[in-house]
């Protein structure tokens, strides 16, 4: 079962090279992503019954899916499925306009499947070393995706992404070495299983706290570089704005979650060992507020509609870090709920920008006017998405941000809550100020024909819009129990 998660992307990555017909290539990818979504739902049902999926046999102790990883795998596969559906329309159009060749299309599908494979490897393994290797592999797989268009800006963005993330991840490795060291120094039998998350969590109280503290700092900074915490966020606006839109949606919605997952796993160990979340909490709250503040300031001056969305990603990752730092059941629930909301909303927004870019061929806000008249579905989804991402009801993000503020207030972090609300207001103002120019007004450029490009793109956008509205109004029972189980895993409380 678990091997299916790894085998399917690997197969898809290989199979796209063998065929010359573009429809078959598109379909291979789509079928692969659909199968992965089905498998992730099956594994969620499995976890509901038996608390965790473990692998046996040759790969004993290597793979492990519990509610937390199952939840994030579900988000990943759902987002990848919708992005694959959208890629058919986006790259089909680019192929038709001869912007890319068939070989480049195959390269895109191969690399995005390799990217997904490395992310799923990070999410399904419990060995911290393999998790590190997988997260480094995501940087490598997506480096060429970021530099896909091979122009000056794309290559600059890809180089920055590669260098900054590789250096950050190298620091995370130091942290993992220290984590392993802390287990071998005090525990017997740790030589082989000292990197397994389950082993570390069960024996957390006998791990040395001082080594764990410094290991946590290294891992927080290291994986935090991949998540996009300020002040190591500088690669994020460039990479997410220069990549093709489906890739941006994957990077923003899914990859940031995977890196955050790495931090969450170590957070669980360190909190259990120190028996209090004060140390990790302070660090996470600091980084969270710093990220939200930085994003709020930069959002006010953006000229490029994809860059403003990238800064919004930094802000939302800061919100998740804030929720994890406050570390009460309600705030962790809010943080996990927020990962889902952000993934769906941000993917929706980035895919909408894909449509806008295909029609207008520019990334500048000032060159676009009258979007709602030119492309009705995309324009409306973009406007609603802009409101959604800044925290307007009835969308999902409003509920999770609300819960985060409530968690902060209940935990008596009044200053943090007020700063958070002020920054939210600033981000809202920035978005409306910058983006509202695009939607109304008359389109003076006569070369732009009216109407959507084809039917698949807007359909995906409408699906995502419905998901974000639905999850903001009502959380289904199984979903809630999944979130509760994941919260318990992070807090170290036993049981389901």
């Amino acid at each position: 079962m678990i091997l299916a998660f790894l085998a399917i992307p690997a197969l898809a990555a290989g199979l796209v090279w063998t065929n010359k017909n573009k429809i078959v290539i598109h379909l291979t990818n789509l079928v692969g992503s659909m199968l992965l979504l089905v498998f992730s739902i099956i594994s969620l049902i499995d976890i509901n019954k038996s608390k965790a999926i473990v692998s046996t046999g040759v790969f004993k102790d290597l793979f492990y899916i519990d509610s937390l990883s199952g939840y994030i795998i579900f988000i990943t596969t759902l987002a990848f499925f919708l992005v694959s559906l959208y890629s058919i329309s986006y790259f089909g159009e680019e192929l038709r306009k001869k912007v890319i060749t068939l070989k480049k299309l195959k390269l895109y599908y191969c690399l995005s499947n390799a990217f997904l494979l490395s992310m799923l490897l990070a999410l399904t393994t419990q060995n911290m070393g393999i998790m590190w290797i997988a997260i480094e592999a995501t940087t490598l797989a997506s480096a060429f995706l970021v530099g896909f268009y091979n122009n000056k800006r794309a290559i600059e963005a890809a180089w920055k992404y590669l260098i900054i993330c590789s250096v950050g991840i190298a620091f995370a490795m130091l942290g993992i070495i220290l984590l392993y060291y802390s287990s071998t120094v005090t525990l017997v039998g740790a030589k082989n299983s000292g990197l397994n998350w389950n082993f570390l969590v069960q024996n957390a109280s006998s791990l040395d706290p001082s080594i764990l503290k410094i290991a946590f700092i290294f891992i927080l900074i290291g994986f935090g570089t991949k998540v996009g915490f300020s002040p190591v966020h500088t690669w994020l606006p460039d990479a997410h704005s220069q990549a093709p839109s489906p890739v941006s949606a994957l990077l923003s919605g899914v990859l940031l979650n995977t890196a955050m997952y790495g931090i969450i796993r170590v957070l669980a160990i360190v909190n259990k060992s120190l028996s209090s979340s004060r140390y990790t909490g302070n660090l996470l709250i600091l980084l969270g507020i710093l990220s939200i503040g930085t994003a709020a300031i930069f959002v006010l001056v953006q000229q490029d509609y994809k860059r403003i969305l990238a800064y919004s990603s930094i802000e939302h990752m800061g919100i998740i870090a804030l929720g994890l730092g406050i570390c009460t059941p309600i705030s962790i629930f809010a943080a996990l709920y927020h990962t889902f909301n952000h993934a769906m909303t941000k993917s929706m927004l980035f895919l909408a920008t894909g449509n806008v870019y295909l029609k207008y061929h520019t990334k500048k806000i000032s060159s676009i006017r009258g979007l709602i008249k030119t492309m009705p579905v995309t324009g409306v989804v973009f406007v609603l998405g802009a409101f959604a991402i800044t925290g307007m009801p009835p969308f999902g993000i409003f509920m999770s941000e609300f819960n985060t503020v409530v968690g902060a207030i209940f935990a008596k972090h009044y200053i943090i809550a007020s700063l958070f609300l002020i920054f939210m207001a600033v981000v809202f103002a920035g978005f409306i100020k910058q983006l509202s120019k695009m939607f109304y007004g008359k389109n003076v450029n006569t070369e732009i024909k009216k109407g959507e490009l084809d039917i698949i793109g807007p359909t995906v956008l409408i699906i995502l819009l419905c998901i974000t509205i639905f999850i903001g109004i009502y959380i289904p029972g199984p979903f809630k129990s999944l979130l509760d189980a994941s919260t318990n895993i992070i807090l170290g409380i036993g049981g389901k």
């Binding site: 480094e136 592999a137 890809a158 060291y181 030589k191």
Partner: protein
Amino acid sequence: MYNNALNLLSILILISSFTLIANKRQNAYITTFRIQSILLALVSLLVSVRSMFLNKRFDEVIIIFVLIVVFKVFIIPMVMKRTSDKVEYTVEKDFFIGIPFSMLICCGLVVLSWYVIYNIEGITNSNAKNYLIYSMSVVMIGLFFMISRKKAIGQIVGFLVIENGMFLAAMLTTEGMPMFVELGLFFDLLTAFLIMGIFVFKINNTFESIDINKLKNLKG
């Protein structure tokens, strides 16, 4: 005896990092990196031979020794030299900070890592403490090298030095991590190096130089 030899080799690796900071030309970077990799290979050889002596069975760290010799001593410097020959080369100052001042900063970095590691009470084995200090210093100096060079080749060499420091840490503090982790680590970093090499060519083709200062289009 064994610990003395490891201490000596680790300190030599640290000294080679200082030498790297003092280098002015790109070919010199590659030679110093080669020397550092040879020292690292000797460390891995020592660790594996001793554990084979003690445990009387095959120790997998010897595989790492072979990999380090083949890749870091031969193949990677060769690829770097070839890349460096093919891209644009102007004789100009490659660093932002003058060399004497850089040396002082590196001494400061070593003192900093000593201070941080010394105050962790949990590490009882004083040998492990020393090794950790050396490895972390090498990582820090590699990072400093990366940020103080203007050309892309300098950044890649800095990344390789950080890698070396990580391997030193992994091998010495924990007597080697589980083998598939080390192997995966190695090939991951190798792939990272290859991709960086490809990007240097792309940068050279589009920007007509590998001066990182020219990558200024994306701001704000």
